[in-house]
């Protein structure tokens, strides 16, 4: 029995990593189009760095993700505080409604926003993208910050109030530092999801605003070139750096809160 489980573990890891390893390996392959190893090269990376369209798309992605993350982090944190700290009449309804944008398929959200933009005659571009991204990001930030708020006991805040701190001081000096790891974690998650988002962007971007995902999609539709492998490898590397950052913040947060 144990043997079967071990074989399953190996197979799942092979399944998860074989495609990724193939992409990384082929990004250094000097042969074009073939699956045969023809020698090591950095050519595709050189080509990638010379591609102005790609860099423009990168800049667009960073801009959209950055602003959408900022908006979502502020709104999401406020929402998490309201849900966890207050009891009000439509609390359950709000929670349900809040998570709907991430429950419904992304293509439905994308189309709903597209029809809305067309009807309100809002031009498709940076603003429409930022709004679209912040809609699903708010939910993710709220989830992460709520988890953080549930995880620590609020007697620390009561103590601060008892010792004569004003509510405003308590918020800035006690609550905010305590939930900061949650806020940063939520923001990092939102940022990653924004950068990776393709479907919502594809429908709400309009013509002028190509993000990285949309750029990659058009490259893929145009034909498979080794340059795509190089782009993919770079993005993979970024994801790994990001996830390590996310975990580091979470770890640090866990240590801080247990130190009190």
């Amino acid at each position: 029995m144990k043997r079967i489980l071990e074989i399953n573990i190996c197979l799942v890891f092979l399944f998860l990593y074989l495609p990724i390893l193939a992409v990384v390996a082929f990004s250094f392959n000097s042969g074009e189009q073939t699956a045969v190893w023809q020698g090591f090269t950095f050519d595709w990376y050189a080509e990638l760095f010379a591609d102005a369209d790609l860099w423009r798309a990168c800049r667009n992605s960073l801009m959209v993700a950055g602003i959408a993350t900022l908006i979502a982090t502020v709104i999401g944190t406020a929402t998490a505080l309201a849900i966890e700290r207050y009891r009000f009449r439509f609390r359950e309804a709000l929670v349900r409604c809040l998570y709907l944008p991430i429950i419904i398929p992304d293509i439905v959200l994308a189309i709903a926003l597209l029809t809305f933009y067309v009807q309100t005659r809002m031009p498709l571009g940076l603003t429409s993208l930022i709004i679209a991204h912040s809609v699903f990001n708010i939910a993710f930030v709220t989830i992460v910050v709520r988890a953080r708020l549930q995880g620590y006991d609020n007697s620390v805040e009561d103590a601060a109030l008892d010792l004569g701190a004003t509510e405003w001081q308590t918020f800035w000096r006690i609550t905010l530092p305590l939930i900061a790891p949650g806020i940063i974690g939520g923001a990092l998650l939102a940022f990653t999801l924004s950068i990776d988002d393709f479907v919502t962007t594809f429908f709400t971007a309009g013509v002028g605003w190509t993000t990285l995902s949309v750029h990659i999609y058009s490259l893929l539709k145009f034909g498979i070139t080794p340059k795509i492998n190089a782009i993919s490898t770079m993005l993979l590397f970024n994801s790994i750096v990001f996830i390590l950052l996310f975990l580091w913040f979470r770890e640090k947060g866990a240590r801080n809160s247990s130190g009190i």
């Binding site: 399944f15 009000f88 293509i107 439905v108 990776d196 994801s239 790994i240």
Partner: protein
């Protein structure tokens, strides 16, 4: 009074955002699904039920069936691969457990387009899989897998497997080992213990994982487009085509509204099942 004032400040932005940029857009797509298509790709604001009648056309029912059955098979395959995996992981030595878990999560943080594209490299006629086959068995016919429903199925399982493993792991890790030992001490066979103790106790994880896989796969658009080459239609691609190339927005709206209903019904069923499994555990 001041407390209420503060709550209002905290809630105002999210309510404003959700109403303006989520609920009203949903109503807008709902409204679109009841109007006529115009001659030049535009729309005419005349009420019609024709878009919904078209949904019950044999063609679209077939596509709908394919989407739902593909998502169901993907969910089942993820469960089949993921359950033993999560089970083993939950019992692994704690020192290495988090590292293994991290290895599951890394692909999940990677761009979905790229993860899907990676399978093109593997599955295409002159790809990795066929090179490997040719190396192992000389003179073998290469497999034509890319642009088939099988490729789409593999891509979906690959894309969403971490969504199954993580909730399964979360519920299996909390499992009280004592309960299983008690069952075995009382004479239950390992198989009986598994089906009557382990599975029911991990049901919340099974349900959550299934929902997290089923929902995105039923409306999947990237995977059928890239690995199916757009040759096999799924509901996600059909919606996309109505909005991009066919320019029939009202019909596309009706389709996406139907898609949303399927997902919402699934979600309600999920919460029902979760509730009843919790009730059962309490008694």
């Amino acid at each position: 009074m001041r407390r209420n004032y503060r709550l209002l400040i905290l809630l105002f932005p999210v309510i404003f955002w959700l109403v303006c940029f989520f609920l009203i857009p949903l109503m807008s797509v709902f409204a679109y699904s009841f109007i006529e298509r115009g001659t030049y790709g535009g729309v005419r604001w005349n009420f019609t039920l024709e878009n919904y009648q078209r949904l019950f056309d044999g063609l679209y029912l077939g596509i709908l069936w394919r989407s739902v059955s593909t998502a169901t098979v993907a969910t089942a395959l993820c469960l089949l691969l993921g359950y033993p995996f999560a089970y083993y992981l939950a019992r692994y030595q704690p020192k290495w457990r988090n590292v293994l878990l991290l290895l599951v999560v890394i692909p999940f943080w990677t761009n979905f387009l790229i993860r899907t594209y990676a399978w093109i490299l593997i599955l295409r006629t002159e790809g990795v899989l066929n090179s490997l086959l040719a190396f192992l068995i000389p003179n073998v016919q290469p497999l034509e897998l890319l642009n088939t429903p099988i490729a789409v199925q593999i891509g979906l399982v690959y894309g969403y497997l971490p969504f199954m493993i993580l909730p399964l792991y979360a519920s299996l890790e909390q499992l009280d080992l004592g309960l299983m030992e008690a069952a075995q001490d009382l004479g239950a066979s390992p198989r009986r213990t598994f089906w009557h103790v382990t599975v029911p106790l991990s049901l919340p994880g099974i349900l959550a994982g299934s929902m997290l896989v089923f929902i995105p796969t039923v409306g999947a658009f990237i995977t059928p487009e890239l690995l199916g080459g757009g040759k096999v239609s799924y509901i996600g691609n059909v919606v996309e085509r109505q909005f991009k190339s066919a320019r029939d927005w009202p019909f596309g709206s009706a389709l996406s509204f139907l898609l949303m209903c399927i997902v919402l019904v699934g979600t309600v069923l999920y919460f029902r099942a979760l509730q009843s499994s919790e009730d059962e555990m309490r008694t």
